[in-house]
Symmetry: C2
Subunit: 516 residues, 2 copies
């Protein structure tokens, strides 16, 4: 099984139907297949060989879809960059992956000098925007125009399909290696689960950033069933409302922060979203109130919550539209999809009785191959054949999973995962900081926000703004503390470990933790 199969199948069955709609630009499946095969030939011409990593740093577009197909078609490995990271972080991931070819669009062309300086291995840049091609870069359109179609390399099954970077518990991003089978098993297994979230020949709106595995999973799911990818460059409420109305969109994936912004917009400027059949959400908690408001604006839609993780390619459980009708289940992450086996285990990896809190572990064909070049972290995460999610949860008698906390020290803010350790490392490097702890606290807009508790060095001074600026120069904006408290000492355990639960307790006492 291979992710290019979707392109073969739709090009044979619906050659004249739209594959991608991006603004006014519509490309049919026949055109898309032809362009992908030419772009793959272009990559071969640049020396891209079997198993090479090819990176992309771009907003959403129809060319992002072509990238995702052409790279495996050429026998190579997609390596999407997080567009919210700063150049230092992106350079780290580029270097770690060993990519020598990078696709970049207009929005990120300005970062090229910094990336080139930081990544000597980066020899080729392909410009996939609509503006002028930057100096020293090749053009995506030229590659398509000047090459004859290449045959599909047919990488498949357990072959590496992509490396997807996520925040690391130890401070550096890790590359999650997913195979063709991983991605397809998650998509097919979720599709075969009651309440599968794509309709035949429907139109999926890609508004969430396409570097994100949740968006790539939606792209795979729509692709294998057929239909159309409707793409907007990035999430904005007016762009999403307009695309849904104009292009008869049937499904949309939104994180709750986006859903909240969209609903607020729609309350001011109503739009007819009656064509939408499925709204898929996940990645951070959603409140009852937001769900109720959203249901009003999507009168024909079922809501599906997916509990996802990059390492699971990505779906482990879903709360189906039918499940949403039961108020006692609204705080649940749902039940294992067809393609995943889910258990709750204790510290010795023994399954606990129903209702008991333990770590959520997952097994099945969608579990990652491992972390790129990190055999020890891979072995630890996959010990005993199960992916250890780092989430604490319980399971009821019917198999519904309720996430109660995170064992890993991670914050989910606006749909992005932030590892506290990474922020703490940066903060601790500030000369005025003697000790610090970074936690997630509830936030109406972001689900959680990054909050720092800081102990200043004797005699030193620093303001919250100074500390934020210090962080912003080194890590992505969404990772920087949005609020800072100063204190004389951090609460510690007898063994000297910071008791983050004590720091979090006052913030969370009255809030639903919900599901990330």
């Amino acid at each position: 099984m291979y992710i290019t199969q979707a392109l073969h199948r739709s090009a044979r069955q619906t050659p004249d139907a739209p594959a991608t709609i991006f603004g006014d630009r519509v490309r049919t499946w026949a055109q898309s297949a032809d362009r992908v095969a030419r772009l793959a030939a272009g990559l071969h011409g640049l020396g891209v060989a079997e198993g090479d990593r090819v990176a992309i740093l771009a907003l959403n577009s129809d060319r992002y879809h072509e990238f995702l197909m052409a790279v495996p078609w050429a026998g190579a490995v997609v390596t999407p960059m997080n567009i919210r990271w700063n150049p230092t972080e992106i350079a780290y991931a580029l270097t770690d992956s060993g990519a020598s070819v990078l696709f970049v669009d207009d929005a990120f062309a300005a970062t090229l000098p910094a990336l080139r300086a930081a990544c000597p291995a980066l020899t080729t840049v392909i410009h996939c925007g609509d503006g002028p091609t930057p100096d020293g870069a090749l053009s995506h359109e030229d590659l398509v125009a000047t090459h004859d179609p290449a045959p599909d390399a047919y990488r498949n099954g357990d072959d590496l399909a992509g490396i997807f970077y996520t925040g690391g518990t130890t401070g550096h991003p890790k590359g999650v290696m997913l195979s063709h089978a991983n991605l397809l098993v998650s998509a097919m297994g979720t599709g075969a689960t009651a309440g599968g979230f794509v309709v035949p020949d429907g139109r999926f709106l890609h508004a969430a950033p396409m570097f994100h595995l949740a968006a790539i999973a939606a792209w795979v799911a729509r692709g294998i069933v057929g239909g159309t990818h409707v793409i907007v460059p990035m999430f904005t409420p007016p762009a999403v409302a307009e695309a849904i109305e104009r292009h008869a969109v049937t499904e949309v994936l939104l994180v709750p922060t986006m859903l909240q912004m969209l609903v607020a917009h729609l309350e001011d400027e109503p739009a007819d979203l009656g064509g939408v059949r499925h709204v898929v959400y996940g990645a951070s908690p959603i409140s009852e109130a937001l769900l109720a408001r959203a249901e009003k604006h999507f009168p024909s839609a079922g809501f599906t919550q997916a509990y996802e993780m990059t390492e699971l390619a990505p779906v482990a459980t879903v709360l189906t539209p039918d499940d949403h009708a039961d108020p006692t289940l609204r705080r649940s992450a749902g039940r294992a999809v067809t393609s995943a086996e889910v258990r709750i285990v204790d510290a010795d990896d023994v399954e606990v009785p129903r209702g008991t809190v333990g770590e959520v572990v997952v097994r099945g064909g969608s579990v990652m191959l491992g972390y790129w070049n990190r055999p020890e972290e891979t072995a630890a995460a996959l010990r005993g054949g199960w992916m250890h999610t780092g989430d604490a949860g319980r399971m009821d008698e019917r198999g519904y999973v309720f996430i109660v906390d995170r064992l890993k020290d991670m914050i989910v803010t606006g749909g992005e995962n932030v590892y506290s350790a990474e922020v703490e490392n940066v903060l601790a490097a500030h000369p005025a900081v003697a000790a610090c702890a970074v936690i997630g606290v509830p936030d109406d807009e972001w689900g959680e926000r990054v909050h720092a508790v800081v102990v200043l060095a004797p005699g030193a001074t620093a303001t919250p703004d100074e500390l934020r600026d210090h962080c912003a120069a080194r890590i992505a904006g969404y990772k920087c503390p949005r609020s800072v408290d100063f204190t004389d000492a951090l609460p510690v355990s007898p063994a000297g470990k910071v008791l983050k639960r004590d720091l979090r307790a006052p913030y969370w006492a009255s809030a639903d933790r919900g599901v990330h």
Copy 2:
């Protein structure tokens, strides 16, 4: 991904729901999981080790389901025997597979002496019937009762799941090796295709023999979605009608021969089959007239035609319920499912233009691992990465496949494949036969029937009955010629090859070939 996952998932999510209904015997998913784990432990106690083949020769039952789960749970490989074969053929397949353990039920206990005599490697027989345990056999129920549950061996992915014997073009059956991934990809891919043929928490009636890959595929498809297996020992029209009514069946798989017998029965003794949502058919042609009659008796059902082949685990294309509404498509085999890429190629394996007849070839994650111990036949069948079906067909502009002939010399009669070469080899061994050719001719009851054209040796005589008896002593009844013509000479090509097309032409001139 592993076929036991269905058991894990349903035991966690719906422990008290019925897993199997067999007559008055109902077992829940919790009971089924417990019994399977105990039976697997029993197999370990008998020395069954990783990768060993374990065979079964039995009518359908709830214990057949337990066999299909317990064997992989124990780390071994299921090896179902065709219940229509005679002991010589079964002994061939048992010996070829190297199985040392055989499950057998009451219906086939009488063949044990012959099988034991022919298969010295067969050391252990497990009786899975409800009658008395035959001499020298162990009892399925005793194994369950006397063992503690074993943990799942978790064979998965590309690991061999089963060996499924099919007729061979060269006269001997071949063992088709299918992996866990093969079976699950076909089931999930078909389920994710528009018109997928199982409903959430539905009840699938297993009336077609469970050794058949079509039935096993239905069992996998129902299993991964959850729900209930309703099982009758074998197809009879009253048993099927009664089971559907009594157990609220939602899906049923029938070959057209069965559907015809069922419809004839229902016209005499009406039953309420309104609960059935999907009727899946395949394996031989269906006439417009039969379809129209069947639609009357299944008022709530959509009809799905599956174009299947053991080597494809088994689904390549489906004609969906929506497709059936278009009269121009009723003779089509439908379009590639999500999990398969289908092409029509010429003798050089180059894709032909749409509308041109060529060989149907299939690629994807459901294509078999190969033929057991037959590397040369495997390489020939899978050349270039595509499974060569041996069927001639054409594809229209929308990807619909129309099967027009078989390149392999194969007859499909009552849902069973018969290779002419095998029948010809047996016929030719009769002393009165100088030359012979075996072809399929249209038959109202069987779709096709096996027909022999015989040239007698000079001075010799033989009647059709004598020749049939000769065959029936050596090969399964369904393979024996149902009609025989005598002639002075067979039509041959300049190269001396029998021109079967010329022999078939007069029979097929006015008939639809349809789809097998």
